[in-house]
Symmetry: C2
Subunit: 360 residues, 2 copies
């Protein structure tokens, strides 16, 4: 455990997308400087700080220079190459640590890790060769979702299969191996818990959000979620146990399937601020971005209390025209500053806040 | 009236202090780029955008280049020189306009303008020469506050006087002339209304804040203010009338004295986001910074609804060590990224949010 960062210190952020951008904005609110490292010259996060490095993630020399310019390092995406983390970690505090990255980069390792904590995950089988498909399908009820173990996001790298023929076709297309076949879980709703854990080991979870996906991409997050208080507490407890077992520092997203009996199954985890936590910026005393920066800085965590009910809607592709076209009462918008709108690209989001009549 | 700014447009901001910084952060949330113009190389706002101009406010060539790089222009302080506004206004939309600047830069012009709207201001007399002091004191009850008409802020450029001798001593020290002698108003509380007005003429006021000053500098703003709903409505109505009469575009701060009979007297106005509106970022659907940027962009105004009670505390000088030392439950901090702490310097603020137990 190192000293807390001082006001005016510089936080280095790997990744220049919307999450890096919003992390930088939160860091600025707290009086920090930020330095964005990203290979893409047109990164949206480059617009919110004067300090940037445009270089590949495996450019050791650039990484070393970057580390020399910052006081702590974090990242906006879980697919930071292991070599990048290995280069940076000895030079400056890297939070969350390489352990969380390694586990969350591999679906099989992640599921084993979580199951070993006594927390339920979906039944699944490793698929190393096409010969593994038939027995796995047999054991999982004849259908499931075939997924890559690495580099999947927003529904990419996965295929729903209902027969051996479909599974074989999907196996031929999905790369790299091994894959994992997951059983279909008869969930009632999908929920997520965004939790922060500080270097002192204390944690603070936001209220669970109820998530609806469309074409594999998060469409809306609604808070409060349509689950019982018991289920919400169970999900928080699982999230806290996972964060503690990882000796985690920062914000962690944990996605769950909620079942009809009130139990929950972990779908996946993400060692970073999470799309299903974007509602927090509109209605929480401390939002997920500030919470992450506080943890990375070694500061005490903030208060995750929620002041109102809210629905977050992702603005995908041309739906970004909702800003400023659809900005009615109760709506708090965020646009990511991406120059080009493409189908399936996350361009911004709206938070619809349930406003109650205030006392004047 | 010009077209609304498009996403990705650049908003130019004159002034690189904390208000410019927070305006830039709000503009970034809305998907705009920002360009900060400030003569001071170490401006805190330079840390939140890669686009800056370091030049004097009367550097016509630099102003013209700046105007060519941006799509609309605003400012963080009311003392933008008239020549600066004259250079910029023909080149790009300047919001709020030169009219609001001219009136708010001169206490006498401001008081006349407001009084002409039928809105009460404190009794006052223009003091052009020392010979004006004795009759003015006589008419105003033998005491008052002697103020410069121009360039005052945070209690600078004013002196409380209780005798002719004190008034003459103050007159000799305060510059430039003319001065204004204001009667002491027997107020019960000081309140302020931060109001936004869009290019469509619609306006949206935040709830009035109750302000406490210390050594002439705002110490705290508390919402709701300790005034009746009728007094709050009256203050809002006056603020709306002033904004309309100025044909104002942007956020305007209006400070009032509230009297025991429920009436209010305008103390002064500021054609910009206002320190007594910093609480809005913690508890409102749309905060004053976003509201100002929306108006400057020609976008519809946002929802000023308040989600919780709140007290904003300015962190002056070394009190900035409250971040991160005093960050307990309900506290949302903001630090301005100023390298050097000096007595009387605004370094950051805390919002203490009155959190009610949320439903999980």
């Amino acid at each position: 455990m190192t000293e807390p960062l001082k006001l005016g210190a510089t936080i280095g952020i790997l990744g220049g997308g919307q999450l890096g951008r919003m992390l930088s904005l939160a860091a600025s609110r707290l009086g920090f400087k930020t330095h964005i490292y990203c290979p893409d010259r047109d990164s949206p996060a480059f617009e919110v700080t004067p300090h940037k490095t445009v270089a590949a993630y495996d450019d050791r020399s650039a990484l070393q220079k970057f580390a020399a310019l910052v006081d702590a390092i974090t990242y906006e995406f879980e697919n930071v190459p292991a070599g990048t983390a290995e280069t940076l970690a000895p030079l400056k505090p890297l939070r969350p640590g390489a352990n969380a990255l390694a586990i969350s980069q591999d679906r099989l390792a992640e599921k084993s890790f979580i199951a070993n904590l006594g927390i339920p995950v979906a039944p699944h089988r490793a698929i190393h060769t096409a010969n593994d498909l038939a027995p796995a399908l047999g054991e999982l009820g004849g259908r499931g979702i075939l997924k890559t173990t690495r580099l999947g996001y927003d529904g990419k790298g996965q295929r729903r299969v209902s027969s051996l023929a479909e599974a074989e076709a999907a196996f031929a297309e999905l790369k790299p191996y091994p894959l994992v076949l997951e059983a279909l879980v008869p969930f009632t709703v999908e929920i997520s818990v965004v939790i922060a854990r500080g270097i002192d080991g204390k944690s603070a979870a936001f209220d669970p959000a109820e998530n609806v996906h469309s074409d594999g991409i998060l469409a809306t997050s609604t808070v409060p979620a349509g689950v019982s208080a018991q289920t919400a507490d169970l999900a928080r407890a699982h999230a806290a146990a996972i964060a503690a077992a990882l000796n985690y520092v920062g914000v962690l997203g944990v996605e769950f399937f909620a079942l009809a009996d009130g139990s929950v199954i972990v779908n996946e985890i993400a060692p970073r601020v999470h799309n299903s936590g974007h509602w927090t910026e509109a209605v929480c005393v401390t939002d997920q971005f500030e919470q992450h920066i506080r943890a990375v800085a070694g500061w005490p965590l903030g208060d995750p209390s929620r002041l109102a009910d809210v629905v977050m809607e992702n603005l995908i592709g041309d739906r970004i025209t909702a800003i400023p076209a659809d900005l009615g009462p109760g709506i708090r918008p965020q646009a990511y500053g991406k120059a080009e709108s493409r189908p399936g690209r996350k361009m911004g989001h709206l938070n619809r806040v349930a406003v109650k009549t205030p006392r004047k």
